[in-house]
């Protein structure tokens, strides 16, 4: 499941200034990275999971689904840390590695909850604004925007072509033929991408475009009171870190 599929464009921070939005996530992100306190990581995870549900207005089931993908990787990674290999004869679970596995698991889940909240409350254009503010080279930002656009265009094209192949029973002629069909699918999608790039260039030229992707972002206003909730959150996190 993609973030885009669960993104709610009418979330509580939709009209907030990007500076206010980033205040919700940046301090939490830094604190989680710097802290080694697993209980604090748990607190951050709970807070941001609830915030993703309440503030970002993403349903509980959808949240569980999007968290389950990184969770499965992290769980497997941390579980392997518990294994010990002694003299290449005794292989088993070791309690010595247990604290490390738990710490890594907690920190990873804390970071992921913060990153998900960031993604669920920011549009791509706001992320590019941060990139501009961080003086990321414009070429990299344009590549970021183009990659984002083409991921969806090409995945849509690939899905349509795959359905067309299946309709002609392209997947029912043995494994070898299936591999051949997938090869043809990839080459067609690649050709499609080349064609789309040419069309995109023409469309950009028709609107006086050069080769740069420059846009005017939406103007967001912020008043001083908008900063209170994120500051309160930071205070809660710092208190939590000190108390736990």
């Amino acid at each position: 499941m993609l973030i885009e599929q669960v993104y709610n464009y009418k979330h509580f921070l939709a009209d907030a200034h990007p500076l206010v939005k980033i205040l919700y996530v940046l301090p939490a992100f830094v604190l989680v990275i710097l802290s080694e306190n697993t209980a604090f990581h748990g607190l951050v995870f709970c807070l941001f999971f609830i915030a993703s549900n309440v503030i970002a207005k993403v349903g509980f089931i959808d949240l569980v689904k999007i968290f389950s993908i990184p969770l499965s990787f992290i769980f497997v990674g941390c579980f392997t840390l518990l294994f010990s290999f002694e003299n290449s004869q005794n292989i088993g679970l070791s309690l010595d590695s247990y604290p490390m596995a738990i710490a890594i698991f907690g920190k990873s889940m804390g970071v992921i909850s913060v990153v998900y909240f960031f993604l669920l409350t920011h549009t791509i254009s706001e992320i590019t604004q941060y990139m501009h503010a961080c003086k990321v080279p414009s070429l990299f930002i344009e590549l970021f925007v183009l990659t984002y656009k083409f991921i969806f265009l090409l995945s849509h094209a690939a899905k349509s072509m795959q359905i067309a192949q299946k309709c002609r029973m392209g997947d029912q002629r043995g494994i070898l033929n299936s591999i051949q069909n997938y090869g043809m699918l990839f080459s067609t999608v690649f050709r499609h991408a080349m064609l789309q790039t040419t069309q995109l260039e023409i469309a950009m030229s028709a609107r006086l475009g050069t080769n740069s992707f420059v846009f005017v972002p939406q103007q967001r206003t912020s008043v001083f009171s908008n900063f209170f909730p994120p500051i309160l959150l930071v205070l809660v996190l710092i208190s939590g870190l000190l108390l736990l």
């Binding site: 885009e4 464009y9 939709a14 549009t123 791509i124 254009s125 590019t128 925007v145 984002y148 656009k149 969806f152 265009l153 849509h156 789309q196 069309q199 995109l200 023409i202 469309a203 950009m204 030229s205 028709a206 609107r207 006086l208 475009g209 050069t210 992707f213 420059v214 846009f215 005017v216 972002p217 939406q218 103007q219």
Partner: protein, 274 residues
């Protein structure tokens, strides 16, 4: 009749093909609704790209408002500010990460200031009912919404001539009607509209001036009643007569003002029945 764009013996060939346009002579009347018809490969899309200065004719010349086209950077900027191009496939036209920014793209390229751009976007979003979608990525919109956004993005640049390649392609009848309503409103405001279409019924009902292309040349042009009355010419261009004309012909009726749509036809038939 004053013309907005004039094609003077314009020919164009793609590197790998025969001539796409062959000594094309045509004057597009200013302030009119023009429909460009023709079978597949007749040269409609090539003509549209030539209009916007995307392609340069191999021979011949185009002129806008009596001034010959020049293909320098500054001249093309002026030309493309005056001639807006709407593509049949919206996904190829939409490039920005959000709807709001999509509208800003052409305006920014025109060299307008940020505040002026924001004012224009605010107005255009209201005109095209896009306010609710302003934060959405264009690729997530429905086809009708995408088409509306494409038109809004082009019209924000306030071109004098709006060129639409298959404006109703992939749209259901409701959204197709809405699209033509937008185009009619623009025409009422004095803009010249040119559409390329295969739909003879739509062209007959909507357009003031018809151009039919065949193998890169003008087969015939003129008022819808005149052009669509000649069955043989239409057949040469792989086109059929509009249903209303067919009905009139089958009933052997020759009114002085042929009806444009079903409502007019109904009125006419009732008057004959009396």
């Amino acid at each position: 009749m004053e013309s907005i764009v004039c094609f003077d013996k314009v020919s164009f060939s793609y590197p790998s093909e025969d001539k796409a346009l062959d000594a094309l002579d045509i004057k597009l009347p200013k302030g009119e609704k023009i429909a460009l018809l023709g079978g597949n490969g007749a040269g409609k899309s090539t003509l549209m790209l030539l209009l916007n200065g995307i392609l340069k004719p191999s021979t011949g010349q185009l002129s806008y408002d009596g001034i010959p086209y020049k293909y320098g950077t500054k001249s093309l900027r002026n030309l493309r500010s005056n001639i807006g191009l709407l593509f049949p496939e919206p996904d190829y036209q939409l490039i920005a990460p959000t709807v709001y920014e999509e509208i800003s793209f052409g305006l920014l390229n025109q060299g307008k200031g940020t505040e002026e751009i924001r004012e224009i976007i605010a107005k255009v979003m209201v005109d095209f009912s896009l306010e609710e979608l302003k934060d959405r990525p264009p690729h997530q919109l429905s086809t009708g919404q995408k088409k509306r956004l494409c038109l809004a993005a082009v019209l924000a640049m306030e071109p004098e001539l709006i060129v639409c390649d298959e404006p109703a392609a992939n749209l259901d009848p409701l959204y197709a009607a809405k699209m033509f309503d937008y185009l009619n409103d623009l025409n009422q405001k004095g803009k010249t509209i040119l559409i390329a279409t295969h739909d003879v019924n739509q062209a007959y009902e909507w357009a003031d001036f018809i151009v039919i292309l065949k193998e890169g040349a003008v087969l015939t042009s003129g008022s819808p009643a005149t052009v669509f009355n000649c069955k043989e010419t239409l057949k040469q261009a792989n086109l059929s007569q509009p249903v209303i004309i067919e009905i009139l012909n089958s009933l052997k009726l020759e009114p002085s003002h042929p009806p444009k749509d079903i409502v007019d036809l109904n009125v006419l038939l009732r008057s004959y029945m009396r």
